[in-house]
Symmetry: C2
Subunit: 430 residues, 2 copies
């Protein structure tokens, strides 16, 4: 007769239901791998009635009082699937103080209060796992923590928001406008009614904060991430990028420069030959460049009940094994490094500029002079279209620093005749 | 003062040197993660003189006597990087009998004698890790064992041989012939002087045997894998595939059907929209379709000294942690299932047939009749080119069983006027 490992669930939405289903379907396999019967004992919900049928189906009890779970000594693991900061944070902290291990999919919480929770888990010798918080079904955190421990990661590029990637794929491959693509993503249930967190890059930034912690051992805070979303991206830029051999993607980028890192989220031009360019629709991918392995990429669904539940259950299995082997209390990510940010003089990249200029002689010259002053040279320079009055010029620079890019932006903005339409980083050209 | 974990190395070629370099470069990080100083103490080599300078650089001793390592009680882990079956197998078995943990990159050995070695490791409570044996730098075995433990894998598609993928990429994108592509792969050091193992699909088959063990818990032997390589693949088929929207790739495929699996290696037509179609040159990728996560893919370099060494070192770190926590002796892959193979009546797929037929009326009809008799219907049917005497017909079927495919092949071969040029499975169309 095997031991039973009892779990308390906070929140019984689609992911919670997915966890129940997976544990039931894979009961035998999980018991074989962990040596225990892993069972959800209780679920904390807001409304007992709406969840009653489900509770009966899976044989668990429901409660609207958090203490029923926190004070239950037999419950060894708490799975938090409520989302947002409060009350999730308070509940997790109380559970840790009671010596319960935690699995959570809460990216907002981990990105903003991760260090505090990790420290508390350490203090109480508890496990705290959150694989599902980044890129849903892709086991990227575990991969970085375990398999790349002997490597030196130089760059992490992530398509870590499925909603915006779906929208961009539709804009690129079906010539849909930003508004049409957003409406479609909302109709399909990818985007919320208020799409701010997705389209403004905030959701992606949360995930990049967590990824940076794993890849570089550094705790970057959200205000230290340069964030720009895809709101209002024009089809002109999308078409121009395509014509030049690029796809526009919302990229979360974290790069190391000696002992410092820079983290940003922005729409970028990705060379069509770069592996991350082929990531379509709602899929996510994390591309890693490292000294040992070289280039690797991890691709899969970034959201959805089943993929997220799969990551939650693999965290549960990890903790179950740790409990059995009496090895709990080790950090999910034990790699720690002093956090230092790269100054904009030392962040390098190629940049795409698109400008609206008067269709008169001398505009190319003026732009060239302005760029030369910032010591910026071109890789490509294209005049795209003209209505006889105004023309559109697109320039892709060679490698320049972010500071130089900013200098050029200011110079363009100070040139009355020029209107700056967009600036985006270009990746994958080397 | 931290404990020192001493390692014996068998073979000091490029991968062995890579391991030494990584351990040196990441000394601090590894010591932080494992709580120990991980040190290569001795290396077993054939020729002392040629390796002397290297030994001095890394401060290790050399020996030409295997017993110097096997009998050294302070050496807790043996890393085998000699390749081929013997004497590697004997040395690993002796080391396990002495209670030493093993890391190896030896795919031939694991594919052919894996169960025996795993059982011996179990008997002596030793760890046996071999992440580097499949897909070099991609941590795919660990991912399946840990992160997909709560999932139900239905299909594994692998581009697991870099040499042939490089050749095929050159044939597709640069219109090079098979012979030219092979010569180029050899010049770049990807292909051996005798390329048999690569081009005939044997290397890929070894890796699929190991992957099947992890994905389905089943021990498939090499003779149970249907193996066909890319030797002599014609540019006509490559061009035709491209025109129809496919890339020809050497795919290792393992598929589950209820409680049985089928494993094969063959050139297949991959729909250009399938993620694995975009894997270029010497890169490897493993695409997994599973009930929980859905579609995921793991991409990276399949070979090379540094990527392979990175996987070896991550295995070393895993064992170091296990030793520290006194949790050694657990199987790398603990998922076990009764091995059962799917009969060819129950393996389904779409197939591409290319035929050379007389350029006379009635050929399409005859082919259609023959297919209809086997209850096979077409998705696409194209007459490609004709010299007035002979024409080339290409057909892509709907989903049929492998048995039906074989029936059609026999019927075509028995039709005197028809010459069957090629048959390949088609993937990614659903």
């Amino acid at each position: 007769m095997k031991d039973t490992l009892k779990i308390g669930l906070l929140g019984l939405g689609t992911v919670g239901t997915g966890v129940l289903t997976l544990l039931k379907e894979h009961q035998e396999k999980i018991s074989q791998v962990t040596g225990m019967n892993v069972v959800i004992e209780k679920a904390f919900v807001r409304n007992l009635e709406t969840k009653q049928a489900q509770a009966e189906e899976y044989g668990l009890s429901l409660t609207t009082s958090i203490d029923d779970i926190l004070e239950d000594k037999e419950i060894q693991i708490v799975v938090e699937l409520m989302g947002t900061i409060e009350p999730a944070k308070t509940y997790i902290m109380k559970a840790l103080e009671k010596g319960k291990h935690i699995v959570t999919a809460n990216k907002d919480l981990l990105a903003q209060h991760g260090s505090e929770l990790v420290a508390l888990a350490q203090k109480h010798h508890c496990d705290l796992y959150y694989e599902a918080s980044v890129a849903g079904g892709i086991p990227i955190l575990r991969t970085i923590a375990n398999s790349l421990a002997a490597d030196n990661i130089q760059q992490v590029l992530g398509i870590v928001n499925g909603t915006t990637n779906y929208m961009l794929t539709q804009m690129v491959s079906a010539d849909k406008s930003y508004e049409e693509a957003l409406a479609e993503a909302q109709a399909l249930g990818f985007a919320e009614a208020d799409p701010t967190n997705d389209v403004d890059g905030i959701d992606a930034a949360y995930k990049m904060v967590i990824l940076s912690q794993f890849a570089f051992g550094m705790n970057v805070s959200l205000p230290q991430v340069d964030i720009r979303g895809i709101r209002g991206l024009s089809l002109d830029d999308v078409a121009m990028a395509k014509q030049l051999g690029y796809e526009i993607k919302l990229i979360g980028s974290a790069e190391q420069n000696e002992n410092s890192i820079s983290v940003e989220v922005a729409p970028m031009l990705v060379n069509q030959k770069h592996p991350i360019a082929s990531v379509r629709n709602e899929y996510n991918a994390v591309f890693i460049k490292s000294a040992g392995v070289g280039e690797s990429m991890y691709y899969g669904p970034g959201a959805g009940a089943k993929p997220t539940a799969t990551s939650v259950v693999s965290d549960l299995i990890t903790i179950a094994k740790n409990i059995r082997l009496a090895t709990t209390g080790h950090m999910f990510n034990s790699y720690q490094h002093k956090t230092q940010l790269t100054s904009s003089e030392n962040v390098f990249g190629q940049y795409y500029f698109s400008l609206d200029v008067p269709d008169t002689p001398g505009q190319f010259l003026q732009l060239t002079q302005l760029m030369t002053k910032a010591e910026v040279s071109f890789d490509q320079l294209v005049q795209q279209k003209s209505d006889g009055q105004r023309a559109r010029i697109v320039a892709i620079t060679h490698q320049i620093s972010k500071a130089q890019m900013q200098q050029v932006v200011i110079a363009i903005q100070n040139t009355e005749a020029f209107q700056l339409l967009n600036v985006m980083k270009v990746i994958g050209d080397e």
